[in-house]
Amino acid sequence: MTTIPNLVGAGLIVIGAGLGIGKIGGSAMDAIARQPEASGKIQTAMLIAAALIEGIGFAAFFMGK
């Protein structure tokens, strides 16, 4: 059942997750710019963190849906 509160909740979750992933990506870019030789490690750490947030986002999104 898709009700308006559910949709609003889903939207909020997406905003939150988007902000979180955006921040991780931005920080990773900064870090890579500062230390290009560590880009591999930073990328891995970034993907892991982003994946965790994404996972929470998806879980909440589907529960709300």
Binding site: M1, T44, I48, L52, A59, F61
Partner: protein
């Protein structure tokens, strides 16, 4: 993604040059249905008084088409035509249905007549529910009992059918087997150098080994996980890519498939875990005893959340990609004019490129996280090492 300005100009010009073809094709539904992920569209030639209801109907039809595209199916449906004349024809081929309900039932999916008829086997009646495309136990007339929340209350048989998804899985498995076996053989023949398609895949295999497996699992233990990691990576990647072809079989966007992949990861992690791993879960070192008792259930829950998030991530990414892509393609028919449809076309094109990227990325992330979990199962006395530093 870098696209030079000249290319964009050329591309826009091409799009507008080609647009009339698509808008004309709109009137002729068979072409459209053949062309892509398309669906049966509205009809320009209908009587004016019916226009509003037709439009609504068409939109509902599109939503339903997208919904059905995402689901598994018991027959391999390629396209349909002739709906406006009243005799809709489906082109495709039936697949075997294997059910377990007080005994084995085996028949071809053609007996369902594309979900319109009730199939009878060994005295049992089965019908496909229109909403989720699954087989339910029914009576001879094929009635579905529905509760007040619109949930079907009929029971389901254990459905071991060779569905469309299974066909795709078998196809990809065969493809992988032939391709990688040839790659493996080519080394012996050619003095240690890959030939053919293997030249493209060898660096990817090495990437999985050097960038995913070794950093996350460690030089000592990575070897026993390589088979699983490589298989998972290529399996997901190929299926994601096949999902983007006009056939559009949405295998990795099926929750049962992704759940199976994640469960295998979970089982391997659990059964190859060392003492240190379990120590970290049940008796977290380095924290007060009271905290250890509190942390144990949380950590235990964490081990279950990990495969769950793997499942949902892959599923949701692929489903979301397919829904958005198909919605934009459907918008082409909703707009039904040069500007709107052209815009949708460009959007769909760009999104398709993005989806190709996502196909690889999701395969990479799934493999990476799998390797990470394997790595955590094999970690050794990390704290002692840290004390030395």
């Amino acid at each position: 993604m870098l696209i030079s300005r000249k290319t964009i100009q050329l591309f826009i010009a091409t799009v507008f040059a080609v647009l009339p073809v698509f808008t004309f094709a709109n009137a002729d539904t068979t072409h459209v249905a053949k062309a892509a992920h398309a669906e049966v569209v509205n009809h320009e030639g209908d009587a004016p008084k019916e226009v509003v209801s037709e439009e609504v109907k068409a939109q509902e039809e599109r939503a339903e088409f997208i919904q059905h595209h995402l689901l598994d199916s018991h027959d391999f449906h390629l396209f349909s035509y002739g709906k406006e004349s009243g005799h809709e024809k489906h082109v495709g081929f039936p697949l075997p249905v294997i059910l377990w309900e007080d005994g084995l039932h085996f028949f071809m999916s053609s007996e369902f007549h594309h979900g319109e008829a009730v199939a009878e086997s060994n005295g049992k009646y089965f019908a496909i529910n229109h909403h989720d495309g699954m087989v339910y136990n029914t009576d001879a007339k094929g009635t579905f009992n529905v509760d007040e929340k619109h949930h079907t209350t009929n029971t389901k048989p254990l459905d071991l059918s060779i569905t469309k998804n299974i066909v795709m899985i078998l196809f990809v498995a065969l493809l992988m087997f032939v391709m990688f076996r040839n790659l493996g053989k080519s080394y012996g023949k050619n003095g240690g150098i890959a030939t053919g398609a293997g030249r493209f895949f060898e660096p990817i295999i090495l990437y999985v080994r050097d960038e995913i497996a070794i950093p996350n699992i460690g030089e000592k233990h990575y070897k026993k996980y390589m088979s699983h990691l490589l298989t998972v990576f290529f399996f997901i990647w190929f299926l994601n890519m096949f999902g983007l072809t006009p056939l559009g079989v949405n295998v990795t966007g099926n929750i049962a498939i992704t759940a199976a992949l994640a469960i295998i990861t979970y089982l391997i992690t659990t059964f190859t875990a060392n003492k240190n791993y379990w120590g970290h879960i049940f008796w977290m070192p380095g924290v007060p005893p009271l905290m250890r008792i509190v942390l144990a259930p949380i950590e235990l829950l964490g081990t279950i959340i990990k495969p769950f998030s793997l499942t949902i991530r892959l599923y949701a990414n692929m489903v979301a990609g397919h829904i958005v892509l198909m919605s934009i393609i459907a918008m082409m028919y909703t707009f039904n004019n040069v500007a709107g449809s052209g815009f949708s076309f460009i959007l769909a094109f760009v999104l398709s490129i993005l989806e190709i990227l996502v196909a690889g990325l999701q395969a990479y992330i799934f493999t990476m996280l799998t390797a990470l979990y394997f790595g955590s199962a094999n970690e050794e006395h990390h704290h002692d090492e840290e004390a030395h530093h």
